[in-house]
């Protein structure tokens, strides 16, 4: 069996599968479930300064080929999450990625400070939340300048904790946006957050089903978009990428790695494939490397970029 260790901005993972933010990672216990099923690292749900209950239901809705979600930034607040981070370290060996958001640039800094105090292995910055100061509440992540500024603010606070910026596929020229993040001090990129957003309407009650009307699209449907984003980013940066979006099989994960990802984020696949997805992906990757005569993931990372 070919081993699958990867190093993500200096942090060692025994395999490249990472539980994506917002999936299971409400608590140390729920994140530990993914560890028990083989995840190489886990990401907690994004948190802001204050607790938020989020939207009323439905907030998470399977649709053909994927899933819509609009949970409304529900989270227990940075202080409670800091507690979960410490709790997690007490019982799991794998690296923990904390994820933060802000509704203003200042909130990003505030939350980063509280979370970094609990020393997560990595800090992920979710810039896909609406900017309350912008005219249309346009997400920070669509604005290259705002994203670069937030990167700098968070990196200054995080110090030696590696900072990953999580990008939205709706951003134009995602490759140059990633480059801006790298230039602003980011240690890595996570791509992508959910696509769209999308809407599903019940034709009998003639209403949008999600209480928020629309929500981000994730799952197998978005894999090609995610692979393209990772490919473009890989051609523009030298920092590592957590390739996320639509992974349901080992082959999907391979596409991400061939596009240039160092690790692979898994979210909706926990539902569509099942919680065994971490182990299944690792087994598949290992078999592929073995059959093709490679000795590790380093041999193939970004191979699709060579043509």
């Amino acid at each position: 069996m070919v081993e699958l260790p990867v190093t993500l901005a200096g942090i060692k993972l025994h395999n490249p599968t990472v539980l994506a933010s917002g999936i299971l990672g409400v608590s140390a216990s729920s994140a530990a479930l993914a560890v028990a099923h083989g995840a190489g690292a886990v990401t907690l749900k994004s948190c802001g300064a204050e607790p938020r209950l989020g939207h009323r239901g439905p907030t998470i809705l399977p649709v053909p080929g994927g899933l819509l979600n609009a949970v409304g930034l529900s989270n227990p607040g940075a202080a409670a999450v800091a507690h979960e981070i410490r709790d997690f370290r007490g019982r799991c060996e794998v690296p923990l990625v904390a994820s933060i958001f802000g509704r203003t640039e200042a909130e990003f800094g505030e939350v980063a400070a509280i979370i970094c105090d609990a020393h997560p292995a990595l800090l992920e910055v979710n810039v896909s939340c609406p900017n309350v100061s912008s005219e249309f509440g346009t997400p920070f992540g669509l604005d290259h300048d705002a994203t670069a500024r937030i990167t700098r603010i968070v990196k200054d606070i995080a110090g030696t904790i590696p900072v990953f910026i999580k990008l939205s596929p709706q951003a134009h020229n995602i490759g140059s946006l990633a480059r801006r993040c790298q230039d602003a001090g980011a240690d890595g990129i996570t791509a992508i957050n959910s696509v769209g957003p999308g809407m599903a309407i019940d034709v009998y009650t003639r209403r949008p089903i999600l209480s928020n009307l629309s929500g981000g699209l994730s799952g197998r449907a978005v894999l090609p978009v995610a692979v393209r984003c990772v490919y473009e980013i890989a051609q523009n940066v030298s920092i590592p990428i957590i390739g996320t979006g639509g992974i349901t099989t080992p082959e999907d994960a391979l596409q991400m790695i061939l596009a240039g990802a160092t690790a692979v984020g898994i979210g909706t696949g926990v539902h569509s494939t099942g919680i065994s997805i971490f182990q299944e992906v690792c087994r598949g990757l290992s078999e592929y490397l073995e059959e093709s005569g490679f000795t590790g993931l380093d041999d193939i990372r970004g191979a699709a970029n060579d043509r």
């Binding site: 409400v26 216990s29 729920s30 209950l53 239901g57 409670a80 019940d202 009650t205 209403r207 089903i209």
Partner: protein
């Protein structure tokens, strides 16, 4: 299992108690006792509800008005549409020579369980508790199966808790295992009694659920991380042994631990 949402016309609404109604829907996917569906009331909210019975005449859900969604559900009339996805969760494993212990709204899934046990010719007894006689729903149905009742105020049957009644029953005769559903305090007491008697048990729990499909993590038990919507909501001794929060306050919609 239909993970996608479909809306169904309510075929019938019946009332069991002051704040308790049962809606019947047709052509709902087949479910095991103990499994649940997410029910969407358009414009209001979506919540998990256990199957309270399922026959060729339809699928019933029994709802107690305690908050915004459930109170709005009490206004639903025949002909209205509600959204449904499911069934979700593991459900009860059917067994012989069992004792069913229900409290409050916990009687809803036990009702369907009892129907199925009857159908399969499996022997069981039933003890059911409530605050008072008027809030003791499905009393006639349970009575026909020889249920024994307990009420806090002594209106009907045993004066006191259903767990006292349970202990009494276990002194009278031996059962292979227990099923229980009701308030978590009651379930915690049932567990203690079952441990004393070294009996197997299946307890149906409730937690806040946002997705029903094992993704969001809101229904995960502290300690084990078990997802009540996938690995539960019916937990056995083996499953409960790893959990740290049973019978304790749990998380709210933000994911924060209640204190």
């Amino acid at each position: 299992m239909t993970v996608e949402m479909s809306t169904y016309v309510v075929a019938e609404v019946s009332q069991q108690a002051d704040l308790v109604k049962t809606i019947r829907l047709l052509d709902v996917p087949t479910a095991m006792p103990g499994q649940f569906f997410l029910i969407w009331l358009p414009g209001i909210d979506e919540k998990p509800i256990s199957v309270s019975n399922q026959t060729s005449a339809g699928t019933e859900f029994t709802i107690c008005g305690v908050g915004p969604w459930s109170t709005a559900m009490l206004q639903v009339e025949a002909g209205d549409r509600v959204g449904l996805r499911g069934p979700f969760g593991n459900g009860f494993a059917l067994a012989d020579n069992t004792l069913l212990v229900g409290g409050g709204m916990g009687v809803a899934p036990l009702r369907y369980l009892a129907h199925r046990l009857m159908e399969e010719g499996r022997s069981f007894d039933l003890v059911v508790g409530a605050r008072d006689a008027s809030s003791l729903i499905f009393r006639e149905e349970f009575g026909r199966w020889g249920a024994r009742f307990a009420t806090d105020n002594g209106d009907l049957g045993h004066v006191g808790t259903v767990t006292e009644l349970l202990s009494e029953m276990l002194r009278l005769r031996a059962y292979d295992s227990l099923y229980a559903c009701g308030p978590e305090g009651m379930l915690a007491a049932v567990r203690v009694i079952a441990d004393e008697h070294e009996m197997a048990y299946q307890l149906a729990l409730e937690r806040l659920m946002k997705c029903g499909i094992g993704l969001c993590g809101h229904c995960c038990m502290e300690g084990s991380g078990l997802r009540l919507c996938v690995e539960g909501p019916v937990l056995t001794r083996e499953m409960l042994d790893g959990t740290a929060e049973f019978g304790l306050p749990h998380r709210d919609g933000s994911g924060r631990r209640r204190t």
